[in-house]
Symmetry: C2
Subunit: 466 residues, 2 copies
């Protein structure tokens, strides 16, 4: 055991916050095996919960590029220090920053006047304080919008619907997502003065799902907002009951671009015993949308990767360094992922793994080296079967913050979480601590501990040339 | 069968809205028994759904005393005409009207700055546009607040918590409700400049539960708001993590009293064959809070009573008139109930029944004549046992809109609905159509049809002198 590593962790039990002091006794009296540590984490881990509970309480929402995200970085550095990580650093980068503004209102003016609930999409333009009043024209899908003649939306507000259903693997997002990702840009190209979409989500709460949209290069951004799903359903009933009469809407959204500001990635290590070996990179993101404290997205992910790194060290100093990449500005365009990949293009990593899909249980193991290194793939998959995780032939492609792994062609693992209720909460004000099931969170930590521990103690290349 | 009654109903199938036209074929080819109609309603009723779907779509929120509630009355009159009710009338009354204003914001200033979600309570004063900044002091209950020394809250914002759990009979409301009903008044009396409460509810969504509060006679109203339950939980964690450091809050709420405006009750009859007999009075309320279209509270209730009245007529003209009281301004102080009781003090009613507890299934039958008229009590209880309704020895006391029944000492029946999820939605923006389970809604209609049909065809006094 490496006392240099263990000492600060033990110290944190005395000096750190009350929450940290409750992290409790270790998994075994003396030297622990990795399996023992992972089993212990399943029932006892408190590190991941402590991270997400503390950041959602002490920081709250942390929109990329803003003062709140800067506070989150300072907070994360302090937390990582308390936990005993090494080489803690902020790696700053510049970004172009969008902020949501203060006014987010929508109402139907006729034929059935009533207020609704809306929030702006990332990169939305502003309507100005006085708002826009126009007829709203409904499209049942992005496909239907695409089929509308050019210029046919001149002076109109476009409403874009979709039909998203919950799925365990989150695949419904791929079908419904374009309504948000490209819908407003297409509507703008056809002359629309604004767009409202049915929130890309699967719940029925009056809390819109925001998220980034983008406009093609020569298209001037227009105001773009998401209605909550109950409001979208109501608007669709209004179209039906209006029976051909025009439906007029007033929309007020006042987001703005505030120019270049600074964001940053936070990195931290559990130092390995052989510095010549490329590290195991564990990624999550620090930023959230302004409308929620980001418990599922992605406070939980950062808690899980930090807990896994610390737990691995409980079984002895690993061979490889385990590095955390707590990325900045993910939500608004992967600024942190791109900056990290560029800054560390010449620093090889052994493998990249990301946690950014909530806090529900991991159900499937995927790697991108099942063919090139079948023994390692099998060893890893077998090691987590006892936590209810299935093996898979799907080739892992990694999460948003793993640009570096994709660009280096390194090994990648995806520990797929149950996404059935993820899109009930995704990018909504409802992404709060109470949504996290501590038992499922600990299952994540146990699986991550097991996988990261094996990877960090495997000397040879993980993904072999095929 | 009375053709005068049936004709307009049949007519409505041709002339009325497309929704009404879908109400479908009747329960049987020729003369129907009441049991047949009730059984048919269990699987086939569309009237209640049509009402609540249409009012939430075509009217939306309808705050008492405002233009929106006036639109709702006009809408209700038209709907009742389409359904073939008789003696449809609006009975106007004056009221003192509170409106919520535009700005509802709260943020923690220190030690952990972040925005939260708040909505004003009915009768809240305004902070002014610039808001109030002050230290917030937490109380775990109204009892703890009461124990605070007089003057000890001078210049402070009081936060009042509680511990409400879901219950089938809604009894948790009685324990937690005082935090809202009297908490702000008590805090004001001790010098507080404002109050925020943990929403009186049982969900974990970022949607506050509003509702009326009141201030004692010689206490000047202060601004009073409800935090959503996740925000209240967060504030409590902030107190804990602040570790004695003052927690400062900025609160902006801009409600106002707008003076005397007009509200009104909407009444309508299914005329009985013996006008000398006192009518059966079915009550619900038309107004909702401004923040939701009032599907559970109380669009569903109005749909249920209207459907029951129309269904009873399908078994032939009843002996007694069945009268709907669709009350105005219930939420803000039972103005409609009081006005109706006063205006009709000399018009005896036979029995009062109200539906105002959502749209989930009825599970218990209660009357206030079990002792005085045990045969009728037993007949009614037995008649709805096949719909899964239990008998009860609890003495019915009637809902908020049945002041007239209490003042006249008439018979009262309570058809108790399952309230397990009622306080997830109560007075929140989430009280929308999608929350209604059509199957449970129809069970309500079936039970009501059965009970109202028996009552409307019982000639003698329902509640006998004891």
């Amino acid at each position: 055991m490496n006392t240099r590593l263990i000492a600060p962790i033990a110290l944190s039990l005395v000096l750190a916050s009350p929450a940290a002091a409750q992290l409790g006794p270790g998994p075994c009296e003396d030297a622990c095996t990795l399996d023992q540590v992972a089993d212990w984490a399943l029932d006892n881990d408190r590190i991941a919960w402590d991270f997400v509970e503390a950041i959602t309480t002490e920081v709250g929402p942390r929109q990329a590029g803003t003062e709140a995200e800067e506070r989150a970085r300072a907070w994360a550095v302090e937390w990582l220090e308390e936990q005993g990580f090494s080489n803690i650093a902020v790696e700053p980068f510049d970004m172009e920053t969008w902020v949501p503004g203060e006014s987010h209102r929508v109402e139907i003016l006729s034929p059935f006047p009533q207020p609704m609930v809306v929030q702006p999409l990332g990169n939305s333009a502003s309507t100005g304080d006085k708002g826009i009043e126009a007829e709203v024209v409904g499209f049942e899908s992005v496909g239907a919008l695409m089929a509308a003649p050019n210029g046919s939306l001149k002076g109109k507000i476009a409403y874009i619907s979709h039909d998203m259903r919950p799925t365990q693997d989150g695949s419904g997002y791929g079908f419904a997502g374009p309504a948000r990702w490209i819908g407003p840009g297409i509507a703008a190209g056809k002359g629309a003065v604004a767009t409202v979409i049915k929130s890309v989500g699967t719940d029925f709460r009056r809390n819109p799902h925001t998220g980034g949209t983008s406009f093609p290069d020569r298209t001037t951004p227009i105001p773009a907002g998401a209605l909550s799903l109950p409001d979208a359903a109501n608007l669709e009933r209004i179209f039906e009951r209006a029976d051909g009469k025009p439906v007029r809407m007033k929309l007020v959204l006042t987001p703005r671009m505030i120019g270049t500001t600074q964001s940053g990635n936070v990195v931290a290590d559990i130092t390995g015993s052989d510095p010549s070996l490329p590290p195991v990179l564990l990624a999550c993101h620090l930023d959230s949308w302004w409308n929620a404290p980001g418990a599922f997205d992605d406070g939980a992910g950062c808690g899980i990767i930090a807990a896994a790194a610390l737990n691995v060290a409980k079984a002895g100093q690993p061979l490889r360094t385990v590095r955390l990449l707590i990325a900045g500005a993910e939500e608004v365009g992967l600024w942190g992922s791109k900056a990290y990949a560029e800054a560390h293009a010449d620093d090889p990593i052994a493998v990249g793994i990301e946690s950014d899909f909530g806090a529900d249980r991991i159900w499937r193991f995927e790697s991108n080296f099942r063919d090139s290194n079948p023994d390692l793939h099998r060893q890893l998959a077998q090691s987590v079967a006892r936590f209810g995780v299935a093996d898979s032939g799907i080739v892992a492609s990694g999460g948003a913050d793993l640009n570096i792994a994709r660009e280096q062609g390194s090994a990648i693992i995806d520990l797929q979480q149950d996404g059935t209720r993820y899109f009930d909460l995704h990018h909504t004000p409802d992404d709060t601590l109470d949504k996290i099931d501590p038992e499922q969170l600990r299952q994540n930590v146990a699986v991550w501990t097991q996988v990261v521990g094996i990877l960090a103690n495997t000397a040879g290349p993980l993904k072999r040339s095929e």
